[in-house]
Symmetry: C2
């Protein structure tokens, strides 16, 4: 059966996104310096060959173990689940060929027909909650895995449901000071993880945890 | 010149101490399960031969790279600085031969004569602030290094002063859900660190950052 996993970038002080990185300030990345902070957080990924290719940034980019990891992560995904805010930010940023190449289940109150993009990505807008989204994502994923893509609030809900089997964190050596924390609102007792693997990259430490 | 460094255990969700771990509940570690949580956080250290020897827990314990790291960390310290809460908890817990073997500068409003313990630890009670404590600690440390021992609030003050040159974090795969966070109240722009070394232990991932 397919696995449910999280794979995100995290600042050393625990933020998934810096303060100011909202739709309101999407066109002004200098607002509270959010653009530079986000770039520092995701530098490990932005520089990879796979990411550049997937986002249509052109040729070049780093190869090696981090690039291989990014490619393996993307290739194991059969369906994505994301929150409304992450979708809206992406809608304003992704190339026409959105970089998922799978069904994507967007948790939202908005009623909207599925949005088919070239390259295999179709966004489905789910109005009946996290469990329904997970059920549909599992069915769509088949033998491949379901990624809870974000944002923080959506990941927290799935952590609290106890369904996240693998937690992959690229811990970047940056301090944001404020923003959206990943680990908040966790129910007690929380899920239990053990260290599965650590990949020591130059721009982030790639921590992989597996549910106990 | 001696370096100023931090070396702590941190939960995956960013807490240095679980909720309930206060003097009020020191005798009841089952309160909010703080004792078990603390034990899980510090398991990487508690099991080492060096820690057992230093705390007079008796012979035995793990040898190997984590034990060597703990020993090297302790041996580089020429002076410690800690907050009043950490001192009070330790005063109620340490053996007579307190486990520092250096001068320890305790930040407090309490006026108290230096407290000399067997084995080389003397506690000095500092009433005139963090800069004074650092100055005295540097002088006492000589060629060895100054450790900012904790708690979270004290480390935050020294991070905000920009004097912390090395940040060593043992990141344990535990989620506390609540407690005292290390990374809070950081001034903007915060200090800048780069990844220096990663030691992949079974009970924690040992992350070493150096100031840029």
């Amino acid at each position: 059966m397919s696995k449910v996993f999280v794979n995100i970038g995290l600042s050393l002080d625990g933020y998934m996104a810096p303060e100011g990185m909202t739709m309101e300030h999407w066109g002004t990345p200098e607002y509270k310096n959010w653009g530079a902070k986000w770039g520092a957080l995701m530098r490990w990924m932005i520089n990879t060959q796979y990411f550049r290719e997937n986002l249509k940034f052109g040729p070049g980019g780093e190869t090696g173990p981090v690039n291989d990891m990014v490619r393996n992560t993307m290739e194991r995904i059969g369906a994505n689940i994301m929150g409304k805010r992450m979708f809206e930010q992406g809608e304003a940023s992704w190339p026409e060929e959105a970089p998922f190449h799978t069904p994507v289940y967007v948790l939202t109150h908005e009623k909207r027909e599925p949005w088919v993009r070239p390259g295999g990505t179709t966004f489905y807008f789910i109005n009946d909650g996290v469990e329904s989204a997970l059920k549909q994502a599992r069915e769509a994923a088949g033998a491949r895995d379901v990624r809870i893509s974000g944002g923080a609030n959506v990941i927290q809900q799935y952590l609290n449901m106890g369904v996240v089997e693998e937690l992959e964190i690229a811990l970047a050596p940056v301090l944001f000071g404020s923003g959206r924390r990943l680990f908040e609102n966790l129910r007690e007792p929380g899920p239990q993880f053990r260290i599965d693997n650590v990949l020591d990259g130059p721009a982030a430490t790639h921590l992989r945890y597996v549910r106990q």
